[in-house]
Structures are given as C-alpha cells and as structure tokens.
C-alpha cells in the first residue's frame, strides 16, 4: 500500500497512534517505573520507596539493591537454581518433544491433525488446573505412590511432592507443547526426499538423521528450547504449588519480596536482574523468528 503512505494520512495516523500509545503507556512506561524504583531505598511509607529526587531536586538514586542482590548468597543460589531447573526442564522437553514432533510429522495426514490437536488441547485447559493435576499424582497418598504401593514395589510412599523433582516435572509438563509445535513445524516443512536421497547415496538411517534431519530441524529446536526456557525461568505457580519451601526460584522470590516483605525496590531490582538474565535468550529468539518469517 505504498500509495496509501501519501494519502488518507488521518486514517493512517490513527492506526499508528492508538496501538503505539497503548504500548507506550502500558508496556514501556511500566518498565521505566520498575527501573526507577529499583534504584530507590525502601521506606515505611505510602508508596514504600524513596523518590528519585530529594527535596532539593537533586538526583537521589542508589545501587544498593543491585549490590545486595549480587553479594547476598541466597540470591546467587536462587538465580543459579532457576537457571539449572529451567535448563533441565528444557533438556527433558527436548528429549521427549523431539521424537513426538518427529512421530507426528511422519504420520498420515489424518492422524497428524488429531495428534497435533492432542498436543494443543492441554494448552487451552487452565494452566493452573494442569499444575494442580500433578498435585494429585505426586502426593504421598497420590496416584503414583498408591499404585507403586499396591504393586508392592515400595513399602512406604516416596516423597515427591514439595521437591525440586516435582518442580522439574511440572515445568516439563507445562511447557512441552511449546517445544513440540515449532519442532513439528520445521520437520513438517522438510522434504522427505532429502533423507531418501541421503539413504540412496549410502548413508545409514542414523547417519541420515544426524546429517540431514537434525541440521534442518535446528531452527525449530532452538525456538522450541527458548520457548520452554524463558517462561520456565520466571515461573511462579509451579514452584509455589509443587516445590518445597526451599524451592526458591526467581519468580517466587520476586513475589515474596514484594508481598511478604513489602520491599518494593528490592522486588524491582530482582525483576530487572531477571530481565537482564533473559535478554540474551529473548533477543536470540526474536532473531531466529524474524529469520524464519523472512525466509518464508
């Protein structure tokens, strides 16, 4: 619509201005505020933080919150643990999700659409309720323990609820579809003849997989892994419901810092740190996605 660029500018301006302003006010401005508050000191007042400028109009900001986060061992452990758990969940999702995506992509069209539907279906059911479902499974008196006891494999229940293991399973379960879908998309687009050509040229099935399928599926794998890792890092509900009191992941620490300790500046600093930690994977993801759409 190059012609439209010169004409009917009022209509065009409205289309630009409305969503633009909305995002400026409700997306960018909030971040500015978070950043501002993360540089303030907590006080007992309403709102509970010091203003950025003192009564003389001088800049009054402090990096104390960030210094605290960087030096306090508890927070270092929290960040590390969040990264490790999110990474573990990503790896398990890939180990499980890739064969599923491969299986779907190589099945007949009719089965394929049903299998895909079954991958998407849980996504439309409340996230909270899906996590909740695992509470009933992992409980000391839950389905898994009861079945194992009944089978006589164990004498007393295994403690699974309120452990890191439960968080790990919960994360994998919740975000698995996000990995399957992009991987499926790349595999489905791939020409099956390529693998047959490799076989025809003397490659074994395994060789053909690693030489042809895997490299071609890599964009989908990268996107899928990031789509699991990024939200898993900031997850709040899963560690809260399935994890023990020591399952302190960043998301939960942020929430507690804000609501339990009412330390707004520190909570904001935690958010800023989390964002910094995620900037690299997020930019990576957006790059790979623009490349995808650009190529298509």
């Amino acid at each position: 619509m190059a012609g439209a660029t010169q004409h009917d500018t009022l209509w065009q301006r409205i289309t630009i201005a409305v969503p633009y302003l909305w995002l400026l006010v409700f997306f960018l401005l909030p971040f500015a505020i978070i950043l501002k508050i993360s540089l303030a000191d907590p006080i007992i007042a309403q709102p509970p933080f010091t203003p950025s400028f003192d009564q003389h109009g001088d800049l009054a900001i402090t990096a104390d919150n960030f210094l605290f986060l960087l030096t306090d061992k508890l927070y270092a452990v929290t960040y590390l643990k969040s990264v490790l758990l999110a990474a573990a969940a990503t790896i398990l999702s890939l180990a499980l999700g890739f064969p599923i995506a491969y299986g779907i992509a190589r099945s007949s069209p009719a089965t394929r659409s049903l299998l895909l539907l079954l991958i998407i279906l849980p996504f439309w059911i409340s996230f909270l309720l899906r996590v909740y479902a695992w509470m009933g499974l992992l409980n000391n008196h839950g389905v898994i323990n009861n079945s194992l006891l009944w089978l006589g494999l164990i004498d007393q229940p295994i403690q699974m609820m309120y452990t890191d293991f439960a968080v790990f399973i919960g994360l994998t379960y919740s975000y698995l579809p996000f990995l399957v879908l992009p991987v499926y998309a790349t595999l489905e687009r791939m020409d099956e003849d390529l693998v047959e050509a490799a076989l025809d040229l003397g490659a074994s099935r395994t060789r053909a997989f690693w030489d042809i399928t895997w490299p071609l599926a890599r964009p989908g794998v990268i996107a899928g892994c990031l789509l699991v890792f990024i939200p898993a890092m900031g997850e709040y509900v899963i560690p809260y419901l399935l994890g023990g009191p020591d399952a302190l992941l960043i998301g939960r620490v942020l929430f507690d810092e804000f609501y339990v300790n009412r330390d707004w500046p520190l909570a904001s600093a935690v958010a800023v740190m989390l964002l910094l930690l995620l900037v690299v994977p997020i930019v990576f993801l957006q790059r790979s996605q623009t490349r995808e759409t650009g190529a298509a």
Partner: protein
C-alpha cells in the same frame, strides 16, 4: 500511428529509485489514443515499477506523468482515470463474480440500475454471463482472468494497464486469450499498456513495443521495426534469434557500408543509412531465416557467401533448423521453411554447403 501533438499518456523524465537501486531511469514516452503498447523486458528490468507508477502505486523519484493533458504524478490510484489488471488477477475471494465486477462502480456511487446494466454488458463482453453468481474458487484460471478484465474495464478507464496478462495461463489458452484481448481493445478503443517478458506475446499483441533493460528504454517502435531493425545488441538478442559477426567499418558509401570481418576473413555488406565512421568497431547481425543454404556456390555476387559444414539439424514441422560450422570455425544458425512435403532431407549431417544472404538483410549494430 501516434498523434504526437496530442498523446494520451505523456511520460517525461520519469525515474524511481529504491535506496541506491535505480529501478526506472529517466524514461520519456508518449502513448497515443487507442494504442496497444507493450513494455517488454526481463525480470527486474523496471517494467513493473514503471507500470505501478502509471497506476499510482509508486511515487516517482523524479519526472512526471500526464494522462489526457492532466498531470497525475501525485494523484493516488483511486483518483486516476486508469485501471489495472494484476498479474495475480487479484479477484476478491470473498465476493462473487458479479460483486467483483461491480466493485469499482459502487465505489463511485453509481446508481443501482446503471450498475446492473453495465455489469450485464461486461459479463457479455467477457462471455461470463452464466457465471455471475459463481464464487471465485469455482472459476478456472482463464475465467478469473476475464473477471479481472471486466472489473478493470467497467469504469471505462482512459488507460488499461495489464501486468503480465497471460503469464498465468497455459499455452493453448494463452494464444486464444491473446486474440480476445486484441478484439476487446479494438471494440472499446481504450488504450492498453501491457507489461510482459514474453516477446512473442508482445509481437502479436502490440501496435508498439518498448524494449526495456536496467531501467531504460533501449528501443521503441512497431513490432516489425524492432524485429527487423534492432538498434543494438541487447534488442537484437532479446527478440528472436540472431547471428552476430564482429568487425570494423572498412568503407562508407551512399548505398551502405562495408565491414571488414576478421572472424570470417571476409568483407560483409550492409545496405542502409548508418551513422558510422571508417575504422569503427561494429557488429553485423543476420536473422536465421534470412540466410539461404545451397549445395553449390550461390551466383549473386552482391550477396554474402560463406562455406560451411552442417553440424546439426532439427526438424520442427513447419521449419528446419540448421547449425552450420563455417570455415573459420564460427557456428551460425539457419532456419528454412519446409515448403515441400518430403521425407528426404535436403542436406545431411557433415554435408559441405554454402550459405548466403542479401546485404539488405544484414543489420549493423553500433552498441
């Protein structure tokens, strides 16, 4: 043919660049009333950009466009007396045939009865009377093309722009549609500007052709003129097949010129008025069908006469094609009509033969 004092379209110094890339480079052109004008060129030559500037989808970087004496350079597409038939046809998929055709009149707030009447006329013109209620996904490619044509013609534009009008059709349909387009143009007297990469299409359809390359017009003229008298190597090679020999001008006289041709080791004659100087490097071009093959030495002394061996030959039904290796080693193409019905070949592979052509058939290419 062109009414030069009063052209319908006047393009003056028109240019368009995208960043550093110059898509259309300083085009000047007049197109007369009721012309069927083709812009011919390969992909990326700038022909589509030029057409889009006429339609109003691109704003020129420089220059201006006048239609019927009115400067339209900065008019938006919806205010130009011009309509376009798109390469993809762009038939609206959520409207039936009738609604598609009526769209332009509805936007102009034409009365209901008037719209109905003119839609009927258009449906008749493109022979789609039985399809008026059809959804577009129930139409064939040829029918879609006619819907697009009717839709563009219903507003009685002064100019109809056609972007590769036949490219999406198969070969048989293309030939038929070509003549239908010409008949409709003739009947309505609307100026057509066609963009195409297909030289055959341009040759049959057009009253005039512009050959375009790298954003510039290389030659503008009637199909015959472009074919018989290409003005440079690009045009000569782009339209049809041609044999070219490199040489230098040996002498210039009132009848024509003589060219000393090193690669043949002989002198060639070309008849015509060429602005060349003795010693200038030029090319001599001869179309394959202008060359005669004979078993014995041709008699006419003015003709170019060369000896060669038949390297390859192909039978095409109406024509036979020969590749002849000249004594100098150069390969040339010759074609001849198969006038007589015979199962015997006129010449065989590796036969020694003579080829010849008249000086009138040779074209001198300066650049």
């Amino acid at each position: 043919m062109t009414d030069t004092a009063n052209p319908l379209i006047r393009i003056a110094g028109l240019s368009k660049s995208f960043g550093d890339f110059v898509a259309v480079d300083d085009i000047h052109l007049d197109i007369g009333r009721s012309e069927l004008f083709s812009i011919l060129g390969g992909s990326g030559c700038g022909k589509s950009t030029l057409l889009r500037m006429l339609a109003g989808f691109e704003t020129p970087s420089a220059g201006k466009v006048e239609i019927d004496g009115i400067d339209v350079t900065h008019l938006p597409p919806y205010e130009r007396p011009v309509n376009m038939m798109f390469q993809s046809y762009a038939v609206f998929p959520h409207m039936n045939v009738e609604k598609n055709i009526a769209y332009g009149l509805r936007k102009d707030r034409v009365g209901k009865h008037e719209i109905a009447r003119r839609v009927d006329d258009m449906l008749e013109l493109v022979q789609l009377g039985d399809f008026r209620q059809r959804k577009t996904d129930q139409l064939s490619g040829g029918q879609l093309q006619r819907v697009a044509l009717a839709r563009a013609l219903i507003k009685r534009p002064k100019v109809l722009l056609l972007d590769e009008p036949l490219a999406a059709l198969d070969k048989k349909l293309r030939e038929r549609t070509q003549f239908e387009l010409m008949n409709i143009q003739d009947e309505l007297g609307i100026t057509f500007v066609v963009v195409t990469h297909d030289q055959e299409e341009a040759m049959t359809l057009s009253s005039r052709i512009a050959v375009m390359n790298e954003g510039r017009f290389l030659q503008v003229g009637e199909p015959k003129e472009i074919y018989e008298y290409p003005c440079n190597r690009f045009v000569a090679n782009f339209i049809g097949t041609i044999n070219t020999f490199e040489g230098t001008v040996a002498s210039v006289d009132p009848d024509g010129i003589s060219i000393q041709c090193e690669e043949l080791g002989s002198t060639l004659r070309a008849v015509g008025d060429y602005a060349v100087a003795v010693g200038q490097a030029v090319g001599v071009a001869v179309r394959p069908e202008k060359i005669f093959i004979s078993r014995s030495e041709p008699e006419d002394l003015y003709d170019a006469r060369l000896r060669g061996i038949v390297d390859d030959q192909g039978y095409l039904g109406n024509l036979s094609l020969y590749r002849v290796r000249l004594e100098s080693g150069k390969m040339i193409q010759v074609s001849s009509q198969n006038r007589r019905r015979s199962s015997k070949r006129f010449v065989e592979w590796d036969d020694e033969i003579w080829i010849s052509w008249q000086p009138l058939s040779a074209v001198v290419l300066v650049d």
